[in-house]
Amino acid sequence: MVKEIMSGNEAIARGAWEAGCSFAAAYPGTPSTEIIENLSAIKEVSSRWANNEKTALEMAIGASIGGLRSLAAMKHVGLNVAADPLCAVGYTGVNAGLVVVTADDPGCHSSQNEQDNRLYARLAKLALVEPSDSQECKDFVKAAFEISERFDIPVLFRVTTRICHSKGLVALEQPGEIPVKPYQRNTKKYCMLPAMARVRHAFREESLKELEDYANSCPLNKIEWAGDRKLGIVTSGISYQYAKEVFGDSASILKLALTNPMPRALITEFCSAVDKIYVIEEGEPFIENTVRSLGFACIGKAKVPILGELNAQIVRTALVGPTEQGGYSVDLQAPPRPPVLCAGCPHRGFFFSLQKNKKQIVAMGDIGCYSLGVGEPFGGFDISTCMGAGISGTIGLAKALEMQGDPRKVLGMVGDSTFFHSGLTSLIDVIHADANVIACVLDNSITAMTGHQVNAGSSKDVQGNEVSAIDLVAIIRALGVPDERLRVVDPLDLKAVQEAFNAAIAVKGPFVIVTKRPCALIKEVARANAGKHCQVDPGKCVGCKACTLIACPAMAFKDNKALVADPASCTACGLCMQMCKFDAISRVGE
């Protein structure tokens, strides 16, 4: 059998392909992004980057009802955006199988919270499948499509960062024929008007009972008996691996993977047979509450942290006690190394200018590379909540500042991808409310933070097809923003950015600034800049440090002189040149 080294995300894509999935949609979000990136490489699978998670899921629902096995993928907070269709499709069910992948992020490696999306399966009445490694990612996606069709139910496929981004060997199978189920009109099933929804709710409650019978006996949920039955562990997902690492074969384990509906008979059988029960799970006491509701005392969140990501050591310390392995320490601190705006990043010019206007502006941020502008030295914004909130939040904040006599103007920002995701509806609110705010769209022509995915502003889709690029400035104009309240500027032109801020501060009511410059890491941009960099003439440099105020990682200051310490990463963007009053910096390699 062919084995390949695969991450969880690669394995999910492979499993979907092997299962005959032919439609996939997603909005990029760490740690889920690579699922679509890998699926899009398979030409038989029609893959799309959607504008947001809601439209991604709705596309997949349409394809499923139409007869194609379909998959939607998103990060955990993305499922909040998609919660509306998710809860409706829980009632309608499917025609061809529908799998919704939620990639949760315990530990907040790159997210604003640690929400445990297993709870969505109960809320929306979906089947829930939790793999524990790459092999199971592949195998269980195939099982999930089967379950979806057999029980007429969407499957929530829940993975976590550690599973998405860990690699292991995966035994491959060959993809079969791509199944296409005939589409049939069925308004009683697919039109969720009140009369139909009531009936479908009843259907779903019945189908969940049947699915629970299946969960009690299906191979996804299994007991691994140890020699004696003193200790029993109930676990799922990555936590199973930690349990095995700590307890090996010394404890009996109920390994759960189909966890909504909970296999209560199986849990009862297991828990009745062991003396002591540990429940090991990351996040919420999702399994633990079921174990307790069945009348079994157990140790779970009382000892296993609800916060952050688990690992074997945390589980061991919580349930067995600390080990005296021994290690090393030295009396020296490594300086912090927070992520920063890259050399040549167009956002740098925007944030440098914004900071200079801090006395007159209170700023709200959003989710994207520009989140990094919050750090030193720019302190670029005060508030960051979720995608789109960087624009709509300004309406309320501006009103609050007005009522307390604070004369500062509120500014909000989103990137181009976030604008298409949910910033557009927020901007409509700003314009319609005639809010006294500055709305900024930082357009770098790509969804950068997640690794350069195309978006609605791109002229090619994820599979390389020519598509209609959406002109976001034209959209903004179409909202009725007049030319005198709109500036489109190059963020690396500090003078132009300042003039835009001046114009925005001078008027009352909505003002829109669009900064336009592609991300320096886009392949074509990087290629065009290859070999170009800035250079400091040490004879002219007086050591005033003005150029270091832009916080460019390619610059350094040594022996009282500035220097471009990393010319390979410098793109010759010229921001440092604009800072220098002594004409000491020049571009070379052009």
């Binding site: 084995k3 080294i5 760490t30 740690p31 490696h109 790159s110 490694d133 960062t161 550690r162 981004h165 860990s166 690699k167 292991g168 060997l169 990555i238 691996q241 930690y242 095995k244 690492e245 690992n311 074997a312 050591q313 945390i314 392995q325 021994g326 290690g327 090393y328 320490s329 030295v330 009396d331 020296l332 601190q333 490594a334 300086p335 912090p336 190394r337 927070p338 992520p339 920063v340 705006l341 890259c342 590379c369 990094l372 750090g375 030193e376 030295p377 933070m449 997640t450 690794g451 270091t548 916080a551 990682p553 610059m555 350094a556 200051f557 310490a565 390979a568 990463s569």
Partner: protein, 191 residues
């Protein structure tokens, strides 16, 4: 018996390619393994760590404090940062290359001048491998990672794999020779 390896560097230094080649070699040797590379925001100039565990059967993909058998660091203070992960008696290999983080560049934090001395004092099995300098000397700074791979292969005695042949699967043909030279140089730098 599971062996735990921790690679640490700064975004863009090539830790991921190094771990890809390494795990391909481990697969050839018939080991079970898991590799965990958490990325996302850390790509933007932050610290990047990769964890590799191999043995007969590996469950957890991650390594806790005082659990690493070998640490390979691509940058001097990153070695300092991950020292708490090294197991007593474990080996540490680090490049002496310095990359200043933003707090250092803006004067908010200091880059320690005596990190290597402090580490050498504390850790019995400590080796400085000037892989970045070697890569520059060879003519391509990007082969620093493969130079460090050579050193790691020596530490772990993984000579059963034809690493020179394996490299051909991962680097373009025109860069193969220089990668092989970097590997040999790294291997030779360890006692």
């Amino acid at each position: 018996m599971t062996t735990n390896i921790l690679l640490v560097g700064v975004g863009g230094q090539g830790t991921i390619l190094m771990s890809k080649v390494l795990t391909a070699g481990l697969a050839q040797m018939g080991y079970d393994f898991k590799m965990s590379e958490i990325h996302g925001m850390s790509q933007r100039g932050g610290t990047v760590t990769t964890q590799i565990r191999y043995g007969d059967k590996v469950y957890s993909p991650s390594i806790g404090e005082e659990e690493a058998d070998v640490i390979v660091s691509f940058e001097k203070v990153e070695a300092l940062r991950v020292l708490p992960f090294l197991k007593k008696g474990g080996s540490m290999v680090t490049d002496e290359h310095e990359i200043y983080s933003m707090p250092v560049l803006t004067g908010k934090a200091e880059y320690p001048s005596n990190a290597l001395e402090a580490l050498a004092d504390a850790v019995e099995n400590f080796t400085i491998v000037p892989a970045r300098a070697k890569a520059v000397e060879l003519g391509n700074v990007r082969v620093q990672n493969i130079c460090l791979l050579g050193a790691l292969v020596k530490v772990l005695k993984l000579e059963a794999v034809d690493w020179n042949a394996l490299l051909a699967d991962f680097v373009p043909e025109k860069a193969l020779a220089i990668n092989q030279q970097a590997f040999a140089a790294g291997y030779a730098m360890l006692k």
